[in-house]
Amino acid sequence: MALLEVHNINKRFGGLHAVNDVSFSVSENTIKAVIGPNGAGKTTLFNLISRNIEANDGKVFFQNKPIHSLQPYEIAQRGISRTFQNIKLFHGMSALENVMVGCHPKSRAGFLAGILRLPSSLSEEKMIRERAYEFLDLLGIADLAHLEATSLAFGQQRAVEFARALASEPSLLLLDEPAAGLNIYETAKVAKLITKIQQRGITILLVEHDMSLVMDISDEIVVLSFGKKIAEDHPAAIQQNKEVIQIYLGEDDA
C-alpha cells in the first residue's frame, strides 16, 4: 500500500506550466527520489505536497486520506516533515531550540498552559528537551546544542535542519536537495544518514541533483522534465532509459 499518492497534480505560474499533470506514489519505508534538470519543477512539486504552494488542481493522499486542502502546519501534524533547499533555520535560536521546535507536532502544551506554567507543561518541556538532545546526538552534533543555529557552518546547519525535521517523528520525510552545497565527503555522509533514517522506519522522498547520491540510495526514481513526468522506475532501469539519458546528456552538451 502506498503511503503517499499524488494524482494528476498541476501548477501554473502565469504562462509557465511548472508542474504538468504529475502522478506518482511512494510506498511505505522506501526511498524515492525526484530528479530532473534545472527548472523541471522538482521543488515546486515538493512545495505542492507540503502545501507551501497552492496547486491549481490535483489530489494528494497521505495514509489514504486526502491532504491537498490542508494547511501546511496540518500537513506537519499528520506526519510529513521537510527540509528546505536553502536551509531555513530559526535565527536567534540555538541549535537545540531549533530542534525543540521540531517536537511541536508531538507535544501539546498550549498558550494558557505555558502562561500559567502548569505542571503538565513542565514535564512535557523536559521531555521535549531530552528528545531534542537525542536527535542532535543522532546527527553527531550534540556538542553544538547551545550555539546559535544560523551561525554554524553550512554542513552543520544542514544537520540541524535534519534533526529538526526528524524531531517531529514523521512517517514521511521530504528532503529538498539534501546534498546541495556539500562536498563529496559530506555528500557520502548524507547518503549514509538517509539510509539510517530509513532503517528507523521512516519513508523518504527527496529531490536531488546529485546523480550518484540518488542512484546509490533510492529504491525508485521519478524523472521530471519541463514539469512533466517522463519516467518512474528502479535506479538501474532509469540509467538505461533513453529519454532520461537524452535529457541529461542533451543538457550537458549544450
Partner: protein, 354 residues
C-alpha cells in the same frame, strides 16, 4: 526556577525605591513611578507580540484607549435619568451599578468599576480578535500601516464622540476598589499603596510573559519570527499563535488603560494618539525587541523621565531621535550592544531566555 531570579531582584528594587523615597522625603516621585508602571505593563505586552512573535503594532495606544475610555465612560456617565428603563433597572437589580452623591447632592447611578473593567477589557479582546484575524496575515509595511490605521480610527472616535468627551476627554473617574482596602485612586494618601498595586500588577504581568516565552508556545513564536514557512512546516499553527499573542498584548494594554485612568481620574484623546503608539514601539525597540526586561527597564526609565518633564517641550523629538539612533547604530537594542555581550559571557549561562 532560574528565570524567576530577576523577578526577585525586581521586587526588591521596587521595595527599595519606595523606602528610599520615604527616607529622603521624595515620595512625590511615586506618582510618576506609578504611572510609568502602567505604561510598562502595556510595553511588555507589546514586546511579546513585536519582539518575540515579530509582528509590529503601531496601534497599541488604541487598545490602551479602549480600556481607559470604556472604563471611564461607564463609571462616570450618570444612568439616573434612565433608571426606570428596562435594561438599567435590570442591571441595577443585578448589583452591577453603584449609586453615589455628586457635589450638589444629586444621586449618581453609574456602572460598578469592576464591571466596567471587565467590559472594557473584554471589548479590547474582542476587537483584537476580530481585527487580528485579517491584520496579522499582513506583513511588513502593510501590517505597520494597518495597525497605524486602527490606532487613528480609535483616536478619531475618541475625538468625535460626545460620550467620550471629544477633545476634552473624560474626567472625574472614580476610584476603583480592587479588593477591600486595595483601591486604585490618585488620592494623596493612597500614594504608596497605589505604587505597590501598579508594580505588583507589572510583576504578575511579567511573570506570566516570562512563562510564556519559555514555553512550547513561546518557542513557536520565536520560530515563526525566524521563518514563518519553516515554523509551519514544523506543525506550528502560525496564524493562531500570532492571534493569541496579539490578543494577550491587547488585553495587557487595555488593563493598563483601565488602571491608569482610575489612578489619574481622567483620560484624554492624547492617550489614543499615534505618537503614543510610536513611543511604545520605540521603547520596545530600544529595549532590544525580544527582550522583556529590556522593554521593562527602558520603558520605566524613559516614561519616568518624560513625565518628570526632563525632555521639556522636546518630548516627542527626544523619542524620535532615540528611535533613529537606536535603529541606525544598535538595531538589536541598547542592552544588546557588544559591551553587554562580553559581560554576559563572563557569567556562565546555560540557556538563553528566547
Amino acid at each position: 526556577m532560574r528565570q524567576y531570579f530577576p523577578l526577585c531582584i525586581f521586587l526588591a528594587l521596587v521595595v527599595l525605591i519606595q523606602l528610599v523615597t520615604q527616607i529622603t522625603e521624595t515620595a512625590f516621585y511615586l506618582t510618576q513611578l506609578t504611572m510609568s508602571a502602567y505604561y510598562s505593563l502595556l510595553i511588555i505586552g507589546l514586546c511579546t507580540i513585536m519582539g518575540y512573535a515579530g509582528q509590529i503594532s503601531l496601534g497599541h495606544a488604541g487598545f490602551f484607549a479602549i480600556g481607559g475610555y470604556l472604563s471611564a465612560g461607564l463609571t462616570t456617565h450618570n444612568l439616573q435619568p434612565f433608571a426606570d428603563t428596562g435594561i438599567t433597572s435590570l442591571l441595577d437589580k443585578a448589583g452591577l451599578l453603584v449609586s453615589s452623591k455628586d457635589l450638589y447632592g444629586d444621586t449618581l447611578l453609574t456602572v460598578h468599576p469592576w464591571i466596567a473593567c471587565i467590559v472594557a477589557i473584554s471589548t479590547a479582546v474582542i476587537i483584537a480578535l476580530v481585527l487580528g484575524g485579517p491584520v496579522l496575515k499582513l506583513k511588513g509595511h502593510y501590517l505597520a500601516m494597518a495597525t497605524l490605521g486602527f490606532g487613528i480610527i480609535i483616536f478619531r472616535i475618541a475625538m468625535a464622540t460626545p460620550y467620550f468627551g471629544e477633545a476634552d476627554g473624560l474626567s472625574g473617574v472614580p476610584s476603583f476598589t480592587l479588593l477591600p482596602g486595595i483601591t486604585v485612586s490618585g488620592d494623596f494618601g493612597a500614594r504608596i499603596i497605589n505604587y505597590y498595586i501598579a508594580w505588583g500588577t507589572v510583576l504578575i504581568g511579567m511573570l506570566l510573559l516570562i512563562n510564556l516565552v519559555n514555553s512550547r508556545m513561546g518557542r513557536a513564536l520565536s520560530a515563526l519570527h525566524g521563518s514563518e514557512e519553516a515554523a509551519q512546516a514544523m506543525g506550528v499553527n502560525t496564524a493562531r499563535a500570532k492571534l493569541l499573542t496579539f490578543v494577550l498584548s491587547a488585553a495587557y494594554a487595555a488593563l493598563a488603560g483601565v488602571l491608569l485612568t482610575h489612578y489619574n481620574g481622567s483620560i484624554g484623546p492624547g492617550e489614543a494618539g499615534v505618537m503614543k503608539s510610536v513611543r511604545y514601539v520605540a521603547i520596545v525597540a530600544i529595549g532590544g525587541m525580544a527582550h522583556l526586561w529590556g522593554a521593562l527597564i527602558i520603558g520605566t526609565l524613559l516614561n519616568f523621565m518624560s513625565m518628570r518633564g526632563l525632555f521639556g517641550s522636546y518630548d516627542d523629538a527626544v523619542f524620535g531621535i532615540i528611535l533613529i539612533l537606536i535603529m541606525l547604530f544598535a538595531p538589536q537594542g541598547l542592552l544588546r550592544l557588544h559591551i553587554w555581550k562580553h559581560i554576559q559571557k563572563i557569567k556562565p549561562k546555560k540557556h538563553g531566555t528566547a
